[in-house]
């Protein structure tokens, strides 16, 4: 039986309880597997090595956990991240010690910046060799300390089960984030106690979920009296599963909503209240509304510099309400009048209930006028493909229903602007760390989680070349992933900045000379490669690609090389100082 079929069978197989549900004595590897099964982990992205061989030996006989052999641990971590973003369940990674562990670092930092629940298991040299510069030893706990929510080194096999349960609890509760568990090889081989007890106790850790009553009341009063209210929705809406609550509130009170990059999909863009994304490449209306509003309700957002632009000019006339489960986010960059620490899913309906619908007719007249005067532009051509056209074509070909992962750069911003996101957990992008090489493996992780949904990776010729080897994994598992390369023969966003701010001195940003033939590259892995250089060809290959359902497709779209992404707020400028088009 090939692996892809095995994968599908495992998906459908009913969950069986762990081998032993009562207290029992097992070796560390057995304890780990049992605990993972008890925690309903069905997929692990991993790569074997000496330090984790006892665990791989156990996995040989295990048919309940689907282990995906990635080709690089960085991609494995991004894949687990993608899996977590689309399911809401923690992504699980397994890597060996030393280089295996260090290869996960970029993926962990990416997840940390975007608050994605991951549990990363790394092998470690046996406890008696730790600190001796043993072969493949690295202080991975030390290395990952600043980029994890928490991390553990297991030094007693009898702690192993509790540590794993704690790791999952910490990763998924409160503000989610990555947790690393370092497993010395002897811990996996020694026998220890498995209890099956599900209770987790961490006395020093209890995130505040319920918002403060009087703050909620104040927020409701401010919103009721607002003349120009605005909701600024961040990734917390998606992570906190609060999209229904947000939509209900915005619709009932007819309050405009602007979303951050991480919040895309948290509010359906088809709704009349949607103003689109705000920030550096946000829409004119969203940025102007942020500047002009009198009450700003920030929901699960962290006032990132890519959103606020120059802090002094950020929403200067508004009273601000900020709901966030992480108290450190509140008041960090911007002073707020009403801070509410809590779970957005719980707090939003409470505000909604207590507030009265403000009169926003005049405000909507202004907003509508802005939208009419400055819509996002999609240039239409017949000979060359404009990047914006490419995104719209993909949006049309997938009815806006696909899971879309991007890399970082111009294509990412164009995707955010021009793909119509109507569903939460459908947009995967490295918003915080801005990781190139994220898109393709993350899309692959999403495809493992949702084999029934269309998954598209929109990437650039630069970003794709950071993790193209994962085509090998995707082909092995017959994943019908659609990879759309926006090929402008350069690092587009770098080139754009060099054009605008560095006198067109294109220092090391042009890839043209060394770019591979992406069609042949795809074919060499056993995937399908397609190329388009005109809008007509673009539509044709998209149609072809959508019909392929047993292997990945790489679409090489040669787009207009000099197109720039607008609107753009230059770094350090205020949101209302947007540049709308090329001079």
């Amino acid at each position: 039986m090939d692996n892809a079929k095995a994968h599908k069978l495992k998906k459908n197989k009913k969950k069986e309880p762990p081998e032993d549900s009562g207290p029992s004595v097992l070796n560390g590897a057995g304890i780990l597997i049992n605990t993972l099964q008890d925690l309903e982990v069905d997929t692990i992205f991993g790569y074997p090595g000496g330090a984790v061989l006892p665990l791989y030996d156990k996995l040989f006989d295990n048919h309940d956990i689907n282990h995906v052999l990635v080709r690089h641990e960085q991609a494995g971590t991004h894949a687990a991240d993608g899996y977590a973003r689309v399911t809401g369940k923690p992504g699980v990674v397994l890597a060996t010690s030393g280089p295996g562990g260090t290869n996960t670092v970029t993926g962990i930092a990416t997840a940390a910046m975007d608050s994605i629940p991951l549990v990363v298991f790394t092998g470690q040299v046996p406890t008696d060799l730790i600190g001796n510069d043993a072969f493949q030893e690295a202080d991975i706990v030390g290395i990952t300390r600043p980029i994890t929510k928490h991390n553990y080194l297991v030094d007693d096999v009898n702690d192993l089960e509790q540590v794993i349960r704690k790791a999952f609890h910490v990763a998924t509760s409160g503000r989610p984030g990555p947790v690393l568990v370092d497993l010395p090889k002897d811990m996996l081989k020694t026998e220890g106690h498995y209890s099956g007890l599900r209770k987790v106790s961490i006395p020093s850790y209890s995130p505040t979920e319920k918002g403060h009553f009087s703050q909620i009341k104040k927020a409701a009063e401010l919103l009721s009296d607002a003349e120009k209210p605005l909701i600024y929705a961040g990734g917390g809406v998606v992570l906190g599963k609060a999209w229904n609550e947000l939509t209900a509130m915005a619709e009932r009170h007819n309050i405009p909503v602007t979303t951050t990059l991480m919040g895309l999909g948290g509010f359906p863009e088809g709704k009349p209240q949607a103003l689109g994304m705000l920030g550096m490449h946000g829409t004119y209306t969203a940025n102007m509304a942020t500047t002009e509003c009198d009450v700003l309700l920030a929901v699960g957002a962290r006032f990132d510099d890519r959103v606020t632009g120059n802090l002094e000019g950020f929403s200067p006339h508004s009273k601000k309400i900020h709901i966030d489960i992480d108290p450190t986010n509140i008041g960090k960059n911007v002073a707020v009048e009403v801070p509410i620490v809590g779970d957005v899913k719980q707090v939003l309906p409470e505000i909604d209930e207590k507030m009265e619908t403000p009169n926003t007719d005049k405000w909507w007249q202004v907003l509508n006028q802005w939208q009419e005067d400055h819509p996002l532009k999609v240039p239409e051509t017949e000979d060359t493909i404009k990047p914006q056209q490419m995104i719209e074509a993909i949006s049309d070909a997938t009815n806006g229903d696909a899971i879309v992962a991007t890399d970082v750069g111009q294509h990412q911003m164009w995707t955010a602007q021009h793909y119509t996101f109507n569903h939460p957990r459908s947009f995967l992008s490295s918003g915080g760390l801005g990781t190139m090489g994220y898109g393709f493996p993350a899309a692959m992780g999403a495809a493992f989680a949702h084999p029934d949904r269309t998954v598209v990776c929109i990437t650039g010729d630069g970003g794709f070349q950071m993790t193209p080897y994962e085509l090998s994994t995707a082909v092995e598992h017959e994943i019908p992933l659609k990879i759309a390369i926006m090929n402008n023969q350069c690092l587009g966003m770098v080139r754009q900045w060099q054009e605008l701010f560095y006198d067109e001195r294109y220092s090391h940003s042009i890839l043209k000379k060394g770019n591979p033939d992406f069609v042949k590259l795809a074919e060499s892995y056993g995937a399908v490669g397609l190329r388009a250089t005109t809008p007509k060809e673009m539509d044709d290959i998209l149609q072809q690609a959508m019909e392929i359902n047993d292997k990945p497709v790489v679409m090489d779209f040669h787009v207009e090389e000099h197109e720039n992404c607008y609107p753009m707020v230059p770094a350090g400028a205020a949101l209302n100082e947007m540049v709308l088009e090329d001079k």
Partner: protein
């Protein structure tokens, strides 16, 4: 009215934070990591096992305006191993630091140094021809003042701990 600006820079003030953590070196590393990665300042830090087994008390003295101190306390509290964070600054608290000072003491200077030591209620703990070692405890200012007094004689070596602090229960004077 512009309400978005960061709060008007309040006066930088010295703060003493008392942090209870689960006893492991990882927790200490994480705490120091917060300071180094976020650009906060540590004036002194002391770490020792606490009253309850498995817990340790860390005393950190730092400085900054209100917004910075608020972020520091929030960030510390966010660390999973941290049980409590108390900013003692606005409360009445007792604070001590220990310093060991080895001073050059010629025959003619020795009695004068010993007098200063007495005035500061410090203790001579080692004596040899030409050298005196003195132990002094007290708050930071007192120790600074003592060091200032003996510096002219020539300090050979100096070791001082960070501050350790506890909330004061008795509010009279001792």
């Amino acid at each position: 009215m512009n309400t978005t600006q960061k709060p008007v820079q309040t006066k930088e003030q010295k703060h003493t934070l008392s942090v209870v953590v689960s006893y492991n070196l990882n927790a200490l590393s994480r705490i120091i990591g917060i300071f180094s990665s976020k650009g906060f300042e540590i004036d002194s830090i002391s770490f020792g096992s606490g009253k309850e087994s498995g817990l340790a008390r860390i005393t950190i003295t730092t400085h900054g305006d209100e917004q910075i101190i608020e972020q520091i306390t929030k960030q510390l509290h966010k660390i999973i191993d941290v049980v409590t964070v108390a900013d003692l600054t606005y409360e009445s608290f007792v604070e001590r630091e220990l310093a060991l000072v080895k001073v050059k003491a010629s025959n003619s200077a020795r009695s004068e140094i010993m007098q200063i030591t007495q005035v500061f209620r410090a203790k001579v703990i080692d004596i040899s021809p030409g050298k005196l070692s003195i132990e002094i405890t007290g708050n930071r200012d007192k120790i600074d003042a003592f060091i200032g007094m003996v510096r002219p004689f020539g300090i050979i070596e100096l070791a001082r701990t960070g501050s350790v602090a506890l909330k004061r229960e008795f509010n009279g004077s001792v």
